[in-house]
């Protein structure tokens, strides 16, 4: 602000001021434009045109006819869409709280002065930088029902009939939640760690003097102190969970490995209808559903956060 006013002597005349605004506008846009052109073309235009495509019968061969809400009517009656919608919510409902608890626990542990904490911080981050394809393939074999190391270990512990994991209708989704949490916890741990370090140490000392035990200090000092971080993590995790794709498509291509489409999710539905069956218009209707679910989840979380901080 100072830089803008400093050019004028005393109070700038309106003409001088508007010239200055124009100069700054051109200057600002000249910086932003190289990125903005790419951003607008690759992100903004497709986001906006999504809604139009969802109202057409667009396919790979060319222009689609405008057909109104026909795609959406079909969508409401499509059992595969129902399955993927429910599965997506099921995944998010398991994955979001589990990842929050595990990564917050890990962050609390790594926020102490234990020996070797630096090494563990690096180790915790390792799965996150590994590609989902590699992780999915390794865990697919770890989870393999008969000879996989995990079930061998479970049998060793005395569990006679360990689950078939990814080949079982009931256990496929929990297995994917486990893998996904394993991968993500390092990332969210870092966010929590950053949040924990903004909580003033004096508050802990004060609570200690007042005789609060560790659990009370956690509830009354730590949790309120990291509320902004908690909000951020919840929002990011929810969006990430609702759009899950890579892990599932590699583990269970076409939703076939587990019986009864037990792992098919919304992104997979969009991919299947759009890129396998070439129904771009219909797939876009599914994409609008994913879009709306994400926006609604974000807005709801935003409102809850605002209400609590008020």
């Amino acid at each position: 602000m100072t830089s803008a006013v400093a050019d004028g002597i005393g109070t700038p005349s309106p003409r001088r001021r508007s010239k200055l605004v124009l100069r700054n506008t051109l200057l600002g846009w000249s910086f932003i434009l190289p990125n903005f052109i790419g951003f607008a073309l690759i992100t903004l235009v497709p986001v906006v045109s999504l809604f139009y495509v969802s109202l057409t019968d667009y396919n790979v061969f060319g222009k689609g006819e405008f057909i109104g809400f026909e795609n959406f009517q079909k969508l409401v009656a499509d059992p595969l869409f129902h399955r993927s919608f429910i599965n997506t919510l099921y995944f998010a409902v398991l994955h979001v709280p589990l990842t929050i608890v595990v990564s917050l626990g890990l962050a609390l542990l790594l926020n102490t002065k234990l020996r070797g904490v630096a090494f563990f911080r690096t180790a915790a981050f390792f799965p996150y930088i590994t590609s989902i394809v590699a992780i999915a393939l390794v865990w697919n074999l770890l989870f393999s029902p008969d000879f996989g190391p995990i079930n061998q270990f479970l049998r060793f512990l005395g569990i006679e009939n360990p689950p078939g994991w990814l080949t079982s209708q009931d256990w496929a989704m929990p297995a994917i939640v486990i893998i996904s949490t394993w991968r993500d916890m390092g990332y969210y741990m870092i966010l929590f760690l950053a949040g924990l370090q903004t909580v003033p140490r004096e508050l802990y000392e004060a609570a200690r003097v007042d005789g609060a035990n560790a659990l009370q200090r956690f509830w009354n000092v730590t949790l309120p102190g990291i509320r902004p971080t908690m909000f951020l993590v919840t929002v990011l995790l929810t969006i990430a969970s609702l759009k899950i794709f890579d892990l599932i498509i590699v583990l269970s291509p076409g939703g076939t490995q587990a019986p009864n489409q037990a792992t098919v999710v919304l992104s997979q539905f969009i991919y299947q209808k759009g890129f396998i069956e070439s129904k771009f218009g219909y797939a876009s209707a599914g994409a609008v559903a994913l879009f709306l679910v994400c926006i609604i989840a974000t807005v709801v979380q935003f409102l809850i956060n605002k209400k609590r901080s008020a």
Binding site: F31, L109, F147, I249, F275, L290
Partner: protein
């Protein structure tokens, strides 16, 4: 948006003051117990995190039918190095690696360049509509890519970019993330520095190049690392756009190992997995400091 609420927090190991004179908890019996429990938990965590990687690397040296032995054996009976040679000569691994390195490098360069350039406009120049525009950038974070990948594909197909490496470059190079991260960092650099430079006759572009960029090395490095890793690991983008085998990335090649062979050679698969992870692991270990700091400051990308 709450994203901006996270400020720069040093969370790297070297910033720890160490077991200084602050609070000596070890004298209290309760916390000695806590220490033991904490250490056990840490070791358990580390094992859960790292054992799959050990298993992957060690399996790449095993005889194919030794991978699934009952009872499970971690260490190979005899070491088979030849998988690495075979993978290199008999599959497209060398081409896929070259494509992946090319894509990751170009995308990283563009992302850092255009991102930091735009960030200067957002952080240091005031003009009407700036904040609304930035909000538009931020808002796209709540929109998952999977929801607009179809209109995007239709558009890029009209530009005849499908099945070209250029498609992936265009797709990844102009993300909002770089702009956001760099804006946060630029805003922490005091305005007085730019003022002094202006008095010395530098224009805004020179201030960006000669003052802002040199002062932002940590942010630039963390952005570069994050972008590189994300492009390297991307699966869905290449899956949609790169149809012919000579355009594939490492991730597509790996997936193909399993998809095409019903009787997959698992030792070979593990060799491919190991090769795909090693470059990124080395880069991560080298830049680990910035990486962690960059994510802690921005909290973005997911």
């Amino acid at each position: 948006m709450a994203v901006t609420e996270l400020v720069v927090v040093p969370s790297t190991p070297s910033d720890d003051p160490g077991p200084g004179p602050r609070v000596d908890r070890s004298t209290r019996p309760a916390s000695r117990l806590g220490r033991v429990v904490g250490s056990i938990l840490l070791v358990a965590f580390a094992l859960a995190l790292l054992v799959p990687f050990f298993w992957m690397v060690l399996s790449s040296f095993k005889n194919p039918n030794e991978v699934f032995s009952v009872p499970v054996r971690l260490w190979p009976e005899t070491w088979h190095w030849e998988h690495y040679v075979e993978l290199w000569t008999d599959t497209g691994m060398a081409t896929w690696l070259r494509n992946t390195i090319f894509l990751s490098t170009v995308v990283t360069f563009l992302q850092v360049l255009t991102g930091s350039f735009a960030a200067y406009g957002f952080a240091k120049v005031r003009f009407p509509g700036r904040d609304v525009l930035f909000l538009l950038y931020l808002g796209t974070i709540a929109v998952p890519w999977q929801s607009y990948m179809i209109p995007q594909y239709i558009m890029l197909a009209q530009f005849r970019l499908t099945n070209t490496l250029l498609a992936i470059i265009v797709l990844q190079a102009f993300g909002a993330f770089g702009v956001f991260l760099m804006k946060q960092y630029f805003e922490s650099i005091p305005e007085e520095l730019s003022e002094a430079a202006r008095i010395d006759g530098l224009n805004e572009y020179s201030i960006w190049a000669r003052i802002m960029l040199p002062l932002s090395t940590p942010a630039l490095a963390s952005l570069a690392l994050l972008t590189f890793v994300n492009t390297w690991n991307d699966y869905l983008g290449p899956l949609l756009y790169l149809r012919s085998k000579e355009n594939w990335t490492v991730q597509l090649g790996l997936k193909n190992f399993v998809a095409n062979n019903l009787e997959a050679d698992y030792a070979m698969l593990f060799t491919g997995l190991t090769i795909s992870v090693i470059p990124i692991a080395v880069i991560f270990l080298l830049g680990q400091r910035f990486f962690v700091e960059g994510i802690a400051t921005s909290g973005l990308k997911g």
